[in-house]
């Protein structure tokens, strides 16, 4: 067996063992004594935005229908014996999956039969076994999933924002695609995408629970197959995207009880190295916390005058594939006034700079918030896997955070959270109802 490397976190008083299977998949084993639950996650670096690429072994780029990564996630659960999920149920395990902009994640949890469940996971994700008839049937199911999301105002306001913000980048497309794009998907295309993206070198596996890492590593290595013949230099093609948002505002009407507003800020940063991304995430999170956290003057002013309620939230997401955004908003009776108050607040903050004391206190706060995240095998493994997939080690969080200065935060505030980058997305009640 190959040797495992130890990655330690003094802060969490935890160690993770890192390995690589003969076929080239990176694996991490996180022993968590005392926990009853086992959790395993397999992340494939392939999401809704990867629909233009050069197929493995090919020369010419192809463009796959929108929503194909999500469709493939659904279909891998079908094999000739029926449904893969049922075989997890037989073991008492519960399996699920999700597709995001840049990843497809498969995971299961159980309290027994851990090794057998692990073999099952590695097997079904790596070997597509579905037929043509199942592909046709899946179109109806996904059609209903798309309709369900269209009835969800939070989903709608968010995708409207992305569509206004991005002119060309595929992040503007619904992860599940549209009924029309989904209709174009067939088995051949799905297999082509699987062959290209579900390459061991394009996947990461993390397992957590009360186990012996050496023993579990042996199971993973034997179940994950032999040597990888081709290197996984996947060529993904993304269109050029202007720095500015395509549209400054967008509004939609649906049967909601109260208007919703979401302000999105398009990220101009173009350094997508893992270090830059990791740092940008942390700096932006601190800026948002100082500006819109519960201790902030702005948040409390907006709350006291009734412009926001408990639904208000602000968050940042940056990805390595040419896009990133910060979004904030919630339910309000006066969407225009709220958007104006937020932009005004940001302008004032940019002029004055962030409060140094507040800035320092956010670090202290992060300790507890961070600790709590690692009180379950599920969260621990998920976070570790997603950070690793982007080339970062979640254990470095504190080291990176301690080095962030007030100047860094102010610089980020001024360059990113300004009106030039901003899109205002609204969902308003139907005209007939007020």
């Amino acid at each position: 067996m190959r040797r495992l490397r130890i990655i330690k976190s003094d802060f969490l008083k935890a160690s993770v063992l890192a390995g690589e299977t003969p076929c080239g998949m990176r694996t991490f084993y996180w022993p968590m004594p005392g926990f009853t639950r086992y959790f395993a996650v397999l992340v494939v670096k392939y999401g809704s935005i990867d629909n233009k690429f050069v197929p493995l072994g090919g020369r010419e780029p192809i463009k796959a229908p929108e929503g194909i990564a999500h469709f493939l996630e659904h279909k891998l659960f079908e094999d000739r014996r029926g449904d893969v999920g049922e075989r997890f149920s037989v073991l008492g395990s519960s399996v699920n999956a999700m597709t995001t902009f840049d990843s497809t994640t498969y995971y299961f949890s159980c309290t027994g039969n851990f090794e057998r469940s692990l073999r099952l996971l590695l097997n079904f994700v790596r070997k597509p076994d579905f037929g043509e008839a199942g592909v046709e049937k899946e179109k109806s199911i996904i059609g209903q999933e798309i309709m369900m999301e269209r009835d969800n105002p939070d989903w709608r306001i968010f995708f409207n924002m992305l569509q206004a913000m991005y002119v060309n980048h595929p992040v503007r497309i619904d992860i599940a695609g549209t009924p029309e794009s989904v209709a174009k998907i067939n088995r051949g295309l799905l297999i082509e995408c699987h062959r290209t993206f579900y390459h061991p070198r394009n996947m990461v596996m993390v397992v957590a629970g009360d186990f012996s890492p050496a023993k579990i590593a042996a199971v993973v290595e034997s179940a994950s197959g032999g040597g990888a013949s081709v290197s996984a230099n996947i060529r993904r093609i993304y269109p050029d995207e202007p720095l500015e948002p395509g549209k400054k505002s967008v509004a939609d009407r649906m049967d909601v009880t109260r208007p919703k507003v979401l302000l999105g800020f398009k990220d101009r940063e173009r350094d997508y190295s893992p270090e830059a991304l990791f740092r940008r995430d942390i700096v932006t999170a601190i800026v948002l916390d100082v500006l819109f956290g519960r201790t902030s003057r702005l948040y409390n002013d907006l709350y006291s005058c009734g412009l926001i309620d408990g639904t208000f939230a602000a968050s940042h997401s940056s990805y390595e594939k040419g896009f990133g955004y910060t979004a904030m908003g919630g339910d309000t009776d006066k969407p225009e006034a709220l958007a104006g108050a937020i932009l005004g607040g940001l302008k004032r903050a940019a002029r004055r700079g962030l409060n140094a004391r507040e800035f320092r206190r956010k670090r202290k706060k992060a300790i507890g918030a961070f600790l709590g995240t690692f009180d379950s095998p599920d969260n621990s493994a998920m976070l570790f896997a997603h950070f690793h997939m982007r080339g970062a080690n979640i254990f470095d969080y504190f080291k990176v955070m301690e080095r962030v200065t007030l100047d860094d935060a102010n610089e980020r505030l001024r360059s990113h959270l300004n009106e030039d980058n901003c899109v205002v997305s609204q969902v308003l009640p139907l005209a007939s109802k007020k």
Binding site: F35, T111, Q144, M147, N300, R361, K365, L371
Partner: protein
């Protein structure tokens, strides 16, 4: 390496109508404290819901959200919450505080004491004067609570389920929404809310749960100090209501401007957590729609491709089951027939060994998993306690394991469809 820990709370009486439930463990990196005050759902559900929001917003010592949030940051990122929840026909007001465990902090700090002091301030010394809560806070929180109640309309499945329960339980406590009603919230004055608060503290049982690296006796003492001076009293819940007489299924239909229709079926299993055959009811729900291997998901989604989601859940204090499916409007009838056909099959005893096996294992995994989450552990214990039972996890596992197909068949014979609720897109809405 694997050793099964026994996760049982030690319950200690800590005053009149007050109990401390402590689970010492070093497994977690945090300590979780939950203070729960329970009451029977009634016309004043809106009062309790508003009270939770008002208490959360400030106390005499921590007068606004900003000061509260600063205190949380000073406690190394502790998190505080206060809100309403429900267990069957009961409404609970819960204050929760999660603290990082002291052994992970840079300096030795007595965080647990500080946490308890904070909770005591928030619950017992609210922002009030002359027998009334602060009127600005009450006014603002009334508006927010009303908006929240309204906003249920935005979550179509959530709304459909709520309406189904309302229609089904028109004469029972169960009909009350735990967040109250818009019109009733409007009528609450700062003084009436304060009276309600005083009455709640003086008459309702309080339960304080603590999970973490703590000492039982010390926690019990601290809790006792917190509630010192409570007078002896009832501190009981009302007796369970009798079930309404059975009747043929009622159909209710509503329309909204939306894309996808929702179908909710309200079933009565006539079996609660207090009954010896409750384990069979859990298995029945598991076979019908509790999991992705269950019949509803298999038949409606995988076989007929009529829906993305099809599920059911079982409620333990009244034995109600709600089935929920989202589908194209024109397939409503088809879906309803599939659901009834599946219920018929189980009632006829057409239950495979394979589905029994999968369901049993899935239920047991879910039960066992709860010991990895402080909040789930607390919920499991409390939800049984208010129903007057105290059955440990191992015993549940044993009971589930012992359920045979014949038991499920017998249980299925008791299940009746009570209400069929449909939320449908407007007529003339263009086809999907």
């Amino acid at each position: 390496m694997q050793e099964r820990h026994h996760f049982r709370f030690t319950s200690i009486k800590a005053g009149e109508g007050v109990s401390a439930h402590v689970l010492p463990t070093r497994k977690f990196k945090t300590t979780t404290i939950c203070l729960i005050i329970g009451r029977d759902l009634d016309e004043r559900a809106s009062h309790a819901a508003l009270l939770a929001e008002v208490l959360k917003r400030g106390s005499a010592k921590y007068p606004d959200m900003r000061v509260i949030a600063e205190e949380m940051e000073e406690m190394y990122g502790a998190s505080f919450g206060c809100g309403i929840s429900r267990i069957g026909g009961k409404q609970t007001l819960t204050m929760r505080l999660t603290l990082p465990n002291e052994r992970f902090l840079p300096r030795r700090t007595r965080l647990l004491d500080r946490g308890f002091n904070f909770m005591q301030e928030m619950l017992l010394r609210p922002l009030a004067s002359h027998g009334a809560f602060n009127k600005d806070v009450v006014k603002r929180e009334k508006a927010n609570l009303q908006a929240r109640i309204f906003s249920l309309l935005n979550d179509k499945m959530g709304y459909a389920q709520r309406r189904c329960i309302e229609e089904m339980c028109r004469t029972e406590r169960f009909r009350f929404y735990e967040y109250g009603e818009v019109a009733k919230v409007a009528r609450i004055t700062p003084r009436a809310l304060f009276d309600f608060y005083k009455e709640l503290l003086a008459t309702r049982p309080a339960d304080v749960f603590v999970v973490g690296d703590v000492d039982c006796e010390k926690i019990a003492e601290r809790v006792e100090r917190m509630f010192k001076g409570r007078k002896p009293g009832g501190y009981f819940f009302a007796e369970p209501e009798p079930e309404p007489p059975s009747r043929s299924p009622r159909k209710v239909m509503e329309k909204q401007d939306m894309e996808q229709a929702k179908l909710c079926m309200g079933l009565r299993t006539h079996t609660t957590v207090r009954d010896p055959d409750y384990a069979a009811a859990v298995m029945y729900n598991g076979l019908l729609g509790g999991f992705s291997h269950s019949r509803l998901f298999r038949s409606i989604r995988e076989k007929e491709a009529l829906a993305y989601d099809a599920h059911s859940y079982l409620e333990n204090s009244r034995g109600l089951m709600i089935v929920g499916v989202g589908m194209e409007k024109r397939n409503l009838g088809k879906v309803a027939r599939v659901i009834e056909a599946q219920m018929d099959e189980i009632r006829d005893g057409k239950i495979s060994r394979d589905e029994m096996n999968k369901t049993r294992k899935s239920v047991i995994t879910r039960l066992r998993s709860s010991v990895d989450s402080p909040l789930q552990l607390m919920h499991l214990h409390y939800s049984q306690m208010v129903n007057g039972v105290n059955i440990c996890l191992d015993e549940w596992v044993k009971r589930i394991s012992a359920v045979a197909a014949a038991d499920v068949k017998a249980l299925a014979g008791k299940v009746a469809i009570d209400t069929i609720y449909v939320l449908s897109p407007l007529d003339g809405k263009p086809k999907q």
